[in-house]
């Protein structure tokens, strides 16, 4: 589904990602953990095609596509979804309007007809239940005046509506209280089916108590320093990131010796 090979990325001349390799197969859930500033969000943004990131080396293959050659909207229409760490407010545009445009943009790309109002509403009601949102949510301006928890739930709602092939969740758990976290997690778990792949980017292990990953990778200073299964997350929780960074430093020292 997604194959990242030796990816090096700079921001404003400063190296952030220093050679990332990652393979995500269809239907897998991967978690990327790491301390602040390790490059987690950079990776999420580069995959979604945000401007301001300079890819210096490496390649990303998504399905049959050279992902980095596609515009952000082309990536989205090919089923790549990013749940934003900081969802953007759009005053004046209602949630339901944006989501309708989004769903229809995807359908059009796949050569399907636009959903009629009745089918669309049926789908909306069903997906709202997933994230325990009320219908009045639809008619509020996109993320405008939303609480932190509402914004994150709105991201998951949009994801449920769009039904992506690859969902990247960028620190979706940050700023959530435990109840909101459970709602978000159960929404994501409900989406976990068939060949849909999910990439969770998170600072804390607690999200992984609710969404169990198949693989966990630890990112430090722009490199993956350790990969493992779900147990790695718990180890990290016990020892802290310092433990791994030390390992990385000594590992680097050994190979240099």
């Amino acid at each position: 589904m997604l194959s990242i090979s030796d990816l090096m990325v700079e921001v404003g001349g400063k190296p952030i990602l220093k050679g990332i390799n990652l393979n995500i197969a269809a239907g897998e859930v991967h978690a990327i953990m790491g301390p602040n500033g390790s490059g987690k969000s950079t990776l999420a943004n580069v995959l979604a095609g945000r401007e301001g990131y300079d890819v210096m080396r490496g390649s990303v293959t998504y399905g049959d596509h050279d992902l980095l050659a596609l515009t952000p909207e082309e990536r989205a229409r090919e089923g790549l979804f990013l749940a934003f760490q900081y969802p953007v407010e759009i005053p004046g545009v209602t949630n339901v309007y944006l989501i309708k445009e989004a769903v229809n943009a995807q359908r059009k790309h796949r050569g399907e007809s636009e959903l009629d109002a009745i089918d669309f509403l049926k789908l909306v009601r069903q997906k709202l239940q997933l994230v325990e949102m009320k219908e009045e949510f639809l008619h509020r301006p996109v993320n405008h005046g939303f609480s932190g928890g509402e914004k994150k739930r709105n991201e998951i709602f949009q994801m449920a509506m769009i039904e992506p092939r690859l969902a990247i969740l960028d620190e979706t758990d940050s700023g959530l209280d435990i109840d909101a976290l459970k709602v978000v997690a159960s929404g994501v778990n409900a989406m976990r089916q068939g060949d849909r792949s999910i990439l969770l980017v998170t600072h804390y292990q607690r999200l992984l108590d609710y969404i169990e990953p198949d693989h966990v990778h630890v990112l430090a200073d722009g490199r993956f320093v350790k990969s493992g299964d779900k147990h790695l997350a718990r180890e990290l929780e016990e020892h802290g990131y310092g433990w791994l960074e030390e390992q990385a430093d000594s590992g680097a020292g050994q190979s240099a010796a």
Partner: protein
């Protein structure tokens, strides 16, 4: 030879050179403005004596006035002697009796504008009084309107056929000496539209006029007068387009609305005159005076405008709330892109008791556009229980444009309730990226955000205008971001 004809001959002999700007033969006065020119225009229009006197009075006042400079706009000085004050398609005296008699070139022009005259009769509900340069050339649906007693005709025809109504209401809301441009218009106006809706009549269709500036270096000075008698209702649509020109063109129109007791006038404008090129060359100078008076109890006047064109816009559609419980509304979208400048807003003057007004202004600035909202809410001492709600929102695209808000409040009565809200937002790369990540193209994202920003105004427009307005905003903002 009549004295009018003599006047024209004198002018022609003096300096008039026949020259045609377009393929259509036009009848154009030489540049310059003096009493002779005013008399010549009056003669060309076959004005009755009262009309000539009225023009001359306006001209005398104009001569004593100074061009205003308080607006937040910047342009080189206008040489008022370098402008021609009259241009009309040829032979106005034998005006076409039907569409078949209309110059096919003219029809073609309207075709391009999307108002095919030939199909107008089939168009349900819209009567069009088309103004080409200064003279109305075709009026349709007149018969239907006449059945219910509604008068809808070119201004010059109203002067001839309904002189008493014109005498009674012309200048009643915007007097000759009101301001510099209104005085100029009063002296030299050549045509426009006249509407009279009798007591208790609900006008059975939307009335619409298209203005088009075609002749080079010809100022366009229309005059519109709409009178809604007691308990009547009328909705009037005004749309404007102009072809590309290198030289700036002056446009100074006057619109007067009079609403008697219980009457309602809804006046909607979509203005997309040539805005000049990306470097600010060319474009229309639009200095317009629009004002309505709610003369009786419970009268209501609504102005809705979507302004996307002109190099410079100077325009403050206003309402004088004279009758008790009368209502004034102003809904505006003004867009400036490239080097466009707009200084626009409204004046709501509360005079009667329990009067109320609503102002919703949406300014969009892109490129190097400068967009100014200037509004006055005035509540005089005797106006008990007045209410005003104002909302002024600005949307910025890019970092080289400007948005300015000048709300003036004059409240002389302590029972008044006045609310003002203002916001400024920016269409940022973040918003566009968010929309694109959901699968929208950048263009669709911009149009979605802008239409969302404007929707409170668009929903005041009649349906077909709302659709046109949305398209216009899209066209006007092409390439504005990124």
């Amino acid at each position: 030879m009549s004295s009018a004809t003599a006047e024209i001959s004198a002018l022609v002999d003096r300096e008039y050179k026949e020259g045609f700007v377009t393929d259509i033969e036009s009848d154009t006065l030489p540049p310059g403005l003096d009493e002779q020119v005013v008399r010549a225009i009056s003669a060309k229009k076959n004005d009755p004596p009262f009309m000539l006197e009225w023009r001359l009075e306006a001209f005398r006042r104009w001569q004593a006035m100074v061009e205003p400079s308080w607006a937040h706009v910047d342009y080189p000085p206008i040489d008022f002697q370098a402008i021609s004050y009259y241009s009309a398609p040829r032979s106005p005296e034998d005006a076409p009796k039907s569409l078949d008699e209309v110059d096919p070139k003219l029809l073609e022009t309207y075709e391009k504008l999307g108002i095919p005259l030939q199909e107008q009769k089939a168009l349900a509900g819209v009567a069009v009084d088309a103004v080409f340069d200064s003279v109305s050339v075709a009026t349709t649906f007149k018969a239907n309107l006449a059945e219910v007693g509604v008068i809808f005709c070119p201004f010059s025809e109203a002067v001839r056929d309904h002189p008493d109504l014109v005498k009674k209401y012309l200048g009643a809301v915007v007097p000759q000496g009101d301001n510099y441009y209104a005085a100029l218009n009063s002296a030299v106006f050549s045509d426009g539209s006249f509407v009279y809706v009798p007591k208790g009549v609900r006008c059975p269709m939307e009335l619409s006029t298209y203005f088009r500036i075609n002749a080079m270096n010809t100022g366009q000075f229309e005059r519109t007068l709409i009178v809604a008698d007691e308990g009547s209702y009328v909705s009037y649509l005004e749309g404007c387009t102009a072809p590309m020109r290198d030289e700036n063109q002056l446009h100074a129109a006057v619109v007067e609305l009079v609403a008697m007791e219980g009457a309602q006038i809804k006046y909607s404008t979509v203005q997309n005159w040539y805005p000049g090129d990306a470097e600010g060359r060319g474009g229309i100078y639009n200095f317009v005076t629009k004002r309505g008076a709610c003369r009786g109890k419970r009268a209501k006047i609504s102005w809705t405008q979507v302004e996307t064109g002109s190099a410079i816009t100077w325009k403050y559609p206003s309402v004088l709330l004279e009758g008790d419980e009368s209502i004034g509304e102003f809904y505006s979208v003004a867009l400036t892109n490239n080097r466009q400048q707009a200084d626009t807003g409204t004046k709501m003057v509360h005079i009667g008791s329990n009067t109320s007004s609503t102002i919703i202004s949406k300014g969009i600035s892109a490129g190097r556009g400068q967009n100014t909202y200037r509004g006055l809410v005035k509540i005089i001492k005797g106006a008990e229980g007045a209410r005003n709600y104002s909302q002024c929102d600005s949307l910025l695209m890019g970092d080289q444009c400007g948005a300015h808000t000048y709300p003036y409040l004059e409240v002389k009565n302590p029972t008044a309730i006045v609310e003002h809200e203002a916001t400024t937002t920016k269409i940022g790369e973040d918003q566009l990226f968010y929309c694109r990540q959901r699968g929208l193209s950048e263009e669709d994202a911009i149009s979605m955000i802008v239409n969302g920003f404007c929707k409170e105004v668009f929903r005041e427009l009649p349906m077909e205008f709302a659709v046109e307005a949305q398209k216009l905003l899209g066209i006007s903002l092409e390439g504005a971001v990124g």
